[in-house]
C-alpha cells in the first residue's frame, strides 16, 4: 500500500485560514487509488497548484492529494486538435505542448500555473468567455475517480452521464477526483497576439468601450476603484485576438521591437506592514492609468504578457503580509448593481489595485458553474483592512438581491446562507452528489465552511 503522506499546513493563494492535513503527492493513478482507499474519517480532497484563493484545496485533519505528480499527456492528435492529459498537468505545460502545432488552449485563466483538474473543478473562464464560454464547453470527456473506488468516463453527451460531467465542472472537487480529460484545442495561425488598448475616463465610457471590445475574441477592462468624482470608474480596456499572418507581415515591415523581455521580478520575502495602503495604491493606480495609451490598435504582444501578466512577478501574493489577501469576484446581471458594488468599494476606500471587469456570455449547464450573463468584477483586497468583513457582506447582499453570484474558486468568506441564492440549482447538485458520494468521502475546508 502507498502511504507516502506527511502532515503539513496548507493555505490557498490568499494565504488566509491555514489548516493542516496529511498531504501526499501520488505519482501514479494506482498510488492515488491506494491513498483514497484508506482515507481518514475527515475525508479526502484533490489539490492542484493551490491557485484558488480560499480553502477549497484544504482539508483540515483529513487527506489532501496533490495531483501535480500526475501530469502526463496521454494522447495528442494535432490533426483533430484534441489532447488528453492527466489532471495534474498545468495549463502552462499544455500551452507549450500545443504551441508547436499551431494550437492554443481553448480557455485560460489569468495565470498559467493552474492544473487542468483545478480548471475543471472551478469551471474556469478567461477573457474569451463572452464568445467561447468556460472550460466546460471545450471538453470531450473526462475520467473521474468516484468515492466507491470506481472510475467513470463522463462527457456532455446523453449517454455519458452528463449530470455527473456538469456537476464536476464547478463542483470544487466534491464529486470525485478528475484523473484525466480530453480538451479540444483552438487553432491559431501564429503565436502572437494582436492587442487593442483604450483608456476610458469614467465608468460609462469604460462600459461602452468594453461593449465595442467584445467584437474581439478576448476582452477585459481594468477599473480604478479608488478615484472618485467625475473620473469614478475610469479604466483601461484591452482586447485582442490571435494575430493573423498578414498582421505579422505588417509588424515585420515596421520591425516592431520584440515584446516581453522575459524579465522575472520577485517580491521581497518580507514587506513592511502597511505598505499596501490607500495612498500607495492610489499612487500606483494613477501612474498606471496615465501610462496606458489613450487608444492603440493592433499592437504585437506575446501570449504570456496578454494572458498572464502577473505570472512575471513570482510570489506577488506575499506582498499582502501576514494577514494575506481576499479576492472578491462577483457577477451581476445589470449595470446599476455593478455601479452599487463599485460605489460600495469606493466609499469604503479599500486599498485595491485595479479591479478586473469583464462581460460574461451565456452560462453552461453546470449547476455550480459560476459564469452567467452579466458583468463580473474581481479584485484583491488585503485581509487586514478594517471593516472588510462587513463591507463584503453588504456587497454580497446587494449581489444576491440582484440575482448575481460570487465565485467559489475565489471565495474565502461568504455567508453559507447565501450559497443557495448564488447557486440556485444547488439542490440539483446535492442530489447528484448524494448519488455519487453518499458517505461524503470528498471533503474540504470549503465544504465544511459553507456546509456544501
Amino acid at each position: 500500500m502507498w502511504a507516502d503522506v506527511e502532515t503539513s499546513e496548507l493555505t490557498g493563494w490568499g494565504r488566509t485560514a491555514p489548516s493542516a492535513a496529511s498531504v501526499g503527492t501520488p505519482s501514479s493513478t494506482d498510488q492515488l487509488l491506494d491513498a483514497v482507499r484508506c482515507a481518514p474519517s475527515r475525508g479526502v480532497v484533490a489539490r492542484g497548484l493551490g491557485r484558488s484563493y480560499g480553502d477549497p484545496a484544504q482539508n483540515a485533519g483529513g487527506l489532501v492529494l496533490e495531483t501535480t505528480g500526475l501530469d502526463r499527456i496521454t494522447a495528442f492528435d494535432p490533426a483533430a486538435a484534441t489532447v488528453t492529459a492527466q489532471s495534474g498537468v498545468s495549463i502552462g505545460r499544455l500551452l507549450s505542448v500545443l504551441a508547436d502545432h499551431g494550437l492554443f488552449v481553448p480557455v485560460t485563466p489569468g495565470t498559467r500555473a493552474v492544473t487542468l483538474g483545478g480548471a475543471i473543478a472551478a469551471d474556469v473562464h478567461g477573457k474569451n468567455h463572452h464568445r467561447d464560454g468556460s472550460i466546460g464547453r471545450h471538453l470531450e470527456r473526462m475520467t473521474i475517480l468516484l468515492a466507491d473506488g470506481s472510475r467513470r468516463v463522463v462527457g456532455p453527451g446523453p449517454d455519458a452521464d452528463p449530470e455527473l460531467f456538469w456537476a464536476t465542472l464547478g463542483g470544487m472537487g466534491l464529486t470525485g477526483i478528475v484523473l484525466d480529460a480530453t480538451v479540444r484545442a483552438l487553432r491559431i495561425a501564429i503565436p502572437w497576439m494582436s492587442v487593442d488598448t483604450r483608456r476610458a475616463g469614467n465608468l460609462d465610457e469604460l462600459l461602452a468601450a468594453l461593449d465595442d471590445a467584445d467584437q474581439r475574441r478576448y476582452s477585459v477592462a481594468w477599473v480604478d476603484c479608488l478615484t472618485t468624482g467625475r473620473s469614478a470608474g475610469r479604466g483601461v480596456v484591452t482586447s485582442g485576438d490571435h494575430a493573423a499572418v498578414e498582421e505579422a507581415r505588417e509588424w515585420r515591415r515596421r520591425s516592431s521591437p520584440d515584446p516581453d523581455p522575459a524579465a522575472r521580478l520577485t517580491t521581497p520575502g518580507w514587506v513592511p506592514p502597511g505598505l499596501l495602503n490607500r495612498w500607495t495604491v492610489a499612487a500606483f493606480n494613477e501612474a498606471w492609468f496615465r501610462h496606458a495609451p489613450r487608444r492603440r490598435t493592433g499592437e504585437r504582444q506575446a501570449p504570456s504578457s496578454f494572458f498572464h501578466p502577473l505570472d512575471g512577478v513570482a510570489g506577488w501574493n506575499g506582498l499582502y503580509g501576514r494577514a494575506g489577501l481576499v479576492q472578491y469576484q462577483c457577477v451581476v446581471p445589470d449595470v446599476s448593481t455593478l455601479r452599487d458594488v463599485l460605489t460600495g468599494l469606493r466609499s469604503a476606500r479599500t486599498p485595491t489595485f485595479l479591479a478586473v471587469l469583464k462581460k460574461f456570455g451565456p452560462g453552461n449547464p453546470g449547476p455550480l458553474s459560476f459564469p452567467r450573463p452579466g458583468w463580473t468584477l474581481a479584485l484583491d483586497i488585503p485581509a487586514s483592512v478594517d471593516g472588510l468583513a462587513a463591507l463584503l457582506d453588504r456587497l454580497d447582499t446587494r449581489v444576491a438581491e440582484a440575482g448575481g453570484s460570487v465565485y467559489l474558486a475565489k471565495d474565502s468568506r461568504m455567508r453559507p446562507e447565501l450559497v443557495p441564492t448564488f447557486y440556485p440549482r444547488l439542490d440539483e447538485w446535492h442530489a447528484l452528489r448524494d448519488r455519487v458520494d453518499p458517505h461524503r468521502l470528498w471533503q474540504s475546508d470549503l465544504s465544511r465552511r459553507l456546509s456544501l
Binding site: A17, S19, N59, A60, A323, A389, S412, R413, R415, R449
Partner: protein
C-alpha cells in the same frame, strides 16, 4: 471553519461565565458566522444565565458543559463533551481566580488553589484541547494571561506567578504547534472592569471586557499571537520590565 477574515463558526468558552470570555464571544458573533457556542463551567444559575444571554445574540446551537477547573480528573470528559457537537474553531480559556488581595501571605491553601486553577488547570486543559484541535487540523486556542504575568508585585504575586507560568506555557505551546494548523493567542489584559476586579481601586489604563473582545477578534483576523489590552501596555510594560526592583516596588500600579 474560521473564514479568511477570522470569523469562526463555533466557539467554546472554558470558564463559561467569564465576563471577558463572554465579551470575546459576543465580538466574534458580530462577524455573522457564529452558529455554535459551548459554555463550559460550574453548573448553576450563573452558567444558565450566560447561556440565555449568548442565545440572545447567536442564532444556532448554544449548550453548556460541566467543568470544574480545580478537578483535573474530570477534564478529559469535559473536553470530549466540548468537541461532541463537532469541530471547534476557537477555544477560549477564560477561567481564573484572583485570590484575596494581600491576603495570601498567611493563607497558603488559598494560594495553592489560585495556582491550581490558574496554572495547573490551564496546563491540563490547554494540552487536552490542543490535542483535539490537532486532530481536527485547525483551530485557535485563546489563553487569558495578564499583565500581572510580566513582573512579580507585592500586591498579587501569587496570581501574577500563576499567570506567568500560564503565559510561558501558552507561548511555548503555540511554538510547539506551528505547522499543525493550530494557533495559540496569548492575551495580556491590564485592569479590566469585571466581576473579578469589582471593588478594587482602578488603575491607569483600565479597560472594559468589550475592549478585550475587540482585540481578540482583531488578532484572529490578522494572525497576531500576542495581544495586549489596551495595546499601549506593550510599550509600558517593556519599560517597567527594566526598572530596578526598589523603584518598581514603589510604583502605584
Amino acid at each position: 471553519m474560521k473564514n479568511a477574515l477570522g470569523s469562526p463558526e463555533s466557539v467554546a468558552l472554558v470558564g463559561g461565565t467569564s465576563q471577558i470570555g463572554l465579551a470575546i464571544c459576543r465580538e466574534l458573533a458580530l462577524g455573522g458566522r457564529l452558529r455554535r457556542v459551548v459554555l463550559a463551567g460550574r453548573p448553576g444559575e450563573r452558567l444558565d444565565a450566560a447561556a440565555r444571554d449568548v442565545g440572545g445574540w447567536v442564532v444556532g446551537d448554544v449548550r453548556t458543559v460541566d467543568f470544574d477547573a480545580a478537578s483535573t480528573a474530570g477534564h478529559d470528559d469535559a473536553v470530549a463533551e466540548i468537541f461532541e457537537a463537532g469541530d471547534q474553531d476557537v477555544v477560549v480559556l477564560a477561567f481564573g481566580v484572583l485570590g484575596a488581595p494581600d491576603g495570601m501571605l498567611d493563607d497558603p491553601d488559598q494560594a495553592v488553589h489560585v495556582a491550581e486553577v490558574n496554572y495547573v488547570a490551564s496546563v491540563s486543559m490547554g494540552l487536552r484541547v490542543a490535542a483535539s484541535l490537532r486532530r481536527q487540523g485547525h483551530g485557535t486556542l485563546v489563553v487569558l494571561s495578564s499583565v500581572a504575568a510580566e513582573r512579580g508585585r507585592a500586591s498579587n504575586f501569587v496570581y501574577g506567578s500563576s499567570k506567568a507560568g500560564l503565559d510561558t506555557f501558552a507561548q511555548g505551546l503555540g511554538d510547539r504547534l506551528v505547522g499543525t494548523g493550530v494557533r495559540v493567542i496569548v492575551v495580556r489584559p491590564g485592569f479590566v472592569r469585571t466581576r473579578m476586579t469589582d471593588g478594587l481601586p482602578e488603575v491607569p489604563l483600565a479597560c472594559d471586557a468589550e475592549d478585550v473582545g475587540r482585540a481578540v477578534a482583531h488578532a484572529l483576523r490578522t494572525g497576531q499571537s500576542t495581544v495586549w489590552v489596551p495595546a499601549v501596555l506593550r510599550a509600558v510594560m517593556s519599560g517597567l520590565r527594566h526598572l530596578p526592583r526598589p523603584v518598581f516596588r514603589r510604583l502605584p500600579v
